[in-house]
């Protein structure tokens, strides 16, 4: 039996080998589902709920692309990947895109031959301390004991930051986030440092979250975004502009509540018209329906809505917009014009 499955797989492999070199968009349309790589579980960003439905901030990007291409936010085959398996899964073609809180770095973009199509969350390394410590800035942390995950870039960032500011610290090496929580709560270290979104998620699980503060200093750049393989720019465009459509929709005030009304007929704002497909042929240029962006916003929501629903201040994670606010409001989100 196993052998016959194996030979079957080889036959299919031989047939499929020629076809899937490029044209991911056609493959996805023919398959009827989008294979999207996500995390095996990260609070607020990707996790299945009690019914097995994936939800989260990264998951929303997958669903947005599936909506744009296939018109159905549920036409996604979520492929859970770990930090170790994510890049091979993408490079080998097992997944069409990866939306797994992956930091955009030079070597990943250039050396690993991926294309980061944008940034959906600007993260950075921060510090969490007990309120009782009475510290309001990271620069006052001279001589503090710091819980830090070993072998990560956060360890190097920390060393750099303390050296630049000419203050000393004592590292307490830990392996996992779970261990860090226990050590920090037990008082084995004064400070816990990791990505700010991770700190917020960790703090949310404490019995008394109000007793701990996250310091304002962010000491590293961690732009997280979806990525695709090199060599298929058309597909990269589809993913890039699906993300941009959500960002632009927020900037233009298009929400899931009013998108139906706004897309009925062309309105006064030409950019909204072009985005929603009531004017121009942007969808056709991408190889999609004219109403591709309308469907994204209708089914998934704009960037702000997705942020609020998954990791925003109304959720237990309670992240503020911060760097992830629109450029008009002092953040970094800046979608290129739809024209």
């Amino acid at each position: 039996m196993n052998k016959s499955v194996f030979f079957g797989a080889l036959t299919v492999a031989g047939l499929a080998a020629g076809a899937s070199a490029a044209a991911t968009l056609d493959d996805v349309k023919a398959r009827g589902t989008l294979n999207c790589g996500v995390s095996t579980g990260l609070v607020g960003f990707a996790a299945p709920d009690a019914d097995g439905e994936w939800e989260g901030f990264d998951v929303a990007v997958c669903r947005a692309v599936a909506t744009a291409v296939l018109g159905d936010p549920n036409a996604v085959e979520f492929v859970p990947t770990t930090g170790k398996t994510r890049f091979t899964a993408l490079a080998s073609g097992e997944i069409d895109m990866l939306a797994r809180n992956t930091t955009w770095t030079f070597s990943r973009d250039v050396d690993l031959k991926f294309t980061f199509v944008g940034v959906n969350y600007y993260d950075g390394q921060g510090f969490m301390i007990p309120k009782a410590l009475g510290v309001s800035s990271a620069k006052e942390l001279d001589g503090a004991t710091v819980c830090i995950q070993t072998g990560t870039t956060t360890e190097l960032n920390l060393a750099d930051y303390f050296r630049v500011n000419n203050i000393s610290y004592e590292p307490v090496p830990i392996e996992t986030n779970a261990e860090a929580q226990q050590q920090y709560l037990a008082g084995a270290c004064d400070v816990y440092t990791t990505d700010a979104s991770g700190l917020a998620a960790t703090r949310a699980t404490f019995e008394a979250p109000g007793d701990h503060v996250i310091l304002p200093e962010i000491i590293s750049k961690e732009p997280l975004g979806p990525l695709v393989r090199h060599g298929d720019s058309e597909w990269g465009d589809v993913v890039r502009w699906s993300l941009n459509a959500m960002v632009a929709a927020e900037e233009l005030g298009v929400t899931s509540a009013n998108v139906g009304e706004m897309s009925m007929e062309a309105g006064d704002n030409p950019e909204i018209n072009r985005l929603l497909g009531t004017e121009g042929n942007l969808g056709e240029m991408l190889g999609l329906d004219a109403g591709w962006a309308k469907m994204i916003i209708e089914n998934i929501g704009n960037y702000g809505e997705v942020f609020e629903a998954n990791i925003g201040e109304s959720t237990p994670i309670g992240l503020a917009r911060g760097l992830n606010a629109q450029w008009t409001e002092g953040g970094l989100l800046y979608a290129p014009p739809f024209r």
Partner: protein, 434 residues
């Protein structure tokens, strides 16, 4: 004569005096405690320290266990109910029970299928484990892999049926050619089986259209939870035992080619960590296969774990073979038995008996090693806990309850295996034990 002592014997006890009870200090629990717990000063001190340690441990673990909350929707609700008192939040196990057992993707209306497969597994394993049961039950054991495949993966019934028929065809070819030579029968059987499967590959799709008997198909990717651990454990242990025996015999073979193939295989596999093999199965194979193909991940993992376990079992069995006195081999030869008969009738029954503790040791270790698949993003029991459940906003922060539960399930299975092996050793004991 008779009355010589008539005056001096005033009273003769006619019945035995009832034994008086021993002193209070020499009886019952008191005596047991004095002899076992307080027999010397040092012993008494150790006893008191031990009791204090147990009390200290129980004083915080018992309230935590007994005060556990079983009904809550998320961690914060749990904490509200507990209201600052110490207590476990077992509600996570209650709420995510199905996910822990079946994974989060197995369709919930089909849960009866793996459950039924599990019950049938007990029936199928019984005649193998207990030799007193009627031998006819072994027929069901032979059919079980196909029934279980059909139940768990679903799809058309004709796939497992034709797979089974392929084995039957191979068996008949073997029987027909066996009289000429064992090797010829073996290879003839293999060729016949593959020819049958090749032909049936053309018939199956049409047949499933004409006579559609099928269950909704569940892809391998949707398997998860403790079910996945059990599938991997059962399949890999039962496959690696025969392969391990063949490897062990091959390593002791006189034929250099076979010997060296077996030696290299065993030494290579034993020299590589299992986690590396799993990464190869998951990651590296994807590079060798053409892009866009997915060669069933569970199948890849089963192959790797089976290879790993069979190399270890081969060495355990080789130990058993080496422990047999040379006279046994010579006795078999002098009876005029050929190699296959000698092995089957004389050598292996003794060698395997010696090897039981080692084999069980490998089996228990292998079953626990199946949790390693969580590293290659499969959602086994531990993968479910570390991934989806701890990453949900509802349950982030619940560690002890979940991992204790996982430990409990694994303990039950592993302790059961080890108790069975001890029972089996007593059954097979023929007086060589020391």
């Amino acid at each position: 004569m008779s009355d010589t002592h008539a005056q001096s014997v005033g009273f003769v006890q006619k019945t035995q005096i009832p034994p008086s009870p021993p002193p209070a200090a020499e009886t019952g629990a008191f005596k047991w405690m004095r002899e076992n717990l307080f027999s010397s000063t040092a012993n008494a001190i150790m006893t008191i320290l031990g009791i204090l340690a147990i009390y200290w441990f129980a004083s915080f673990s018992l309230p935590w266990l007994l005060n556990g909350v079983w009904d809550a929707e998320n961690l914060s609700q749990c904490r509200e109910i507990l209201d600052g008192t110490s207590g476990a939040c077992f509600a996570v196990i209650a709420e995510r029970w199905n996910q822990l057992i079946f994974g989060f993707q197995y369709p919930s209306e089909e849960y009866w299928r793996p459950f039924l497969a599990f019950l049938l597994l007990l029936v199928a394993a019984a005649p193998v484990l207990f030799s007193k049961l009627p031998r006819k039950m072994l027929i069901f054991t032979g059919l079980y892999p196909f029934i279980a495949f059909f139940l768990i993966w679903g799809g058309s019934i004709w796939v497992p049926v034709f797979a089974l028929l392929g084995f039957v065809a191979g068996y008949f070819a073997f029987k027909k050619l066996e009289k000429q030579s064992f090797a010829m029968g073996f290879f003839g059987g293999v060729i016949a089986a593959f020819a049958f499967w090749w032909v049936s590959g053309f018939i199956t799709p049409d047949l499933s259209r004409i006579i559609p008997i099928d269950l909704p198909a569940v892809p391998s990717r949707d398997m998860g939870g403790f079910m996945l651990n059990l599938i991997l454990g059962t399949v890999c242990i039962s496959l690696s035992l025969p392969i391990g025996i063949l490897l062990a015999l091959g390593r002791r073979s006189q034929m250099p080619l076979i010997k060296w193939i077996c030696v290299i295989f065993i030494e290579f596999i034993r020299g590589v960590p299992l986690i590396t093999l799993l990464f190869v199965a998951n990651v590296v194979l994807a590079y060798f296969l053409p892009p866009g193909t997915t060669f069933d991940l569970i199948l890849r993992v089963i192959i790797m774990i089976t290879m790993f376990a069979s190399a270890y079992i081969a060495e355990v069995i080789r130990g058993g073979l080496a422990a047999l006195p040379k006279g046994q081999y010579e006795a078999a030869d002098s009876l005029g038995l050929d190699y296959a008969q000698a092995m089957r009738l004389i050598i292996l029954p003794q060698a395997l008996k010696i090897s039981i503790p080692g084999i069980v040791n490998v089996a228990v270790g292998l079953f626990k090693d199946t949790t390693l698949v969580s590293v290659i993003s499969m959602f086994d029991m531990v993968g479910m806990i570390r991934g989806p459940i701890l990453a949900s906003t509802d349950w982030n922060g619940v560690y002890w309850e979940l991992f204790l539960f996982a430990a409990l399930l694994f303990f039950v299975v592993c302790y059961g295996i080890s108790q069975y092996s001890q029972w089996l050793e007593r059954q097979l004991n023929t007086g060589h034990s020391r």
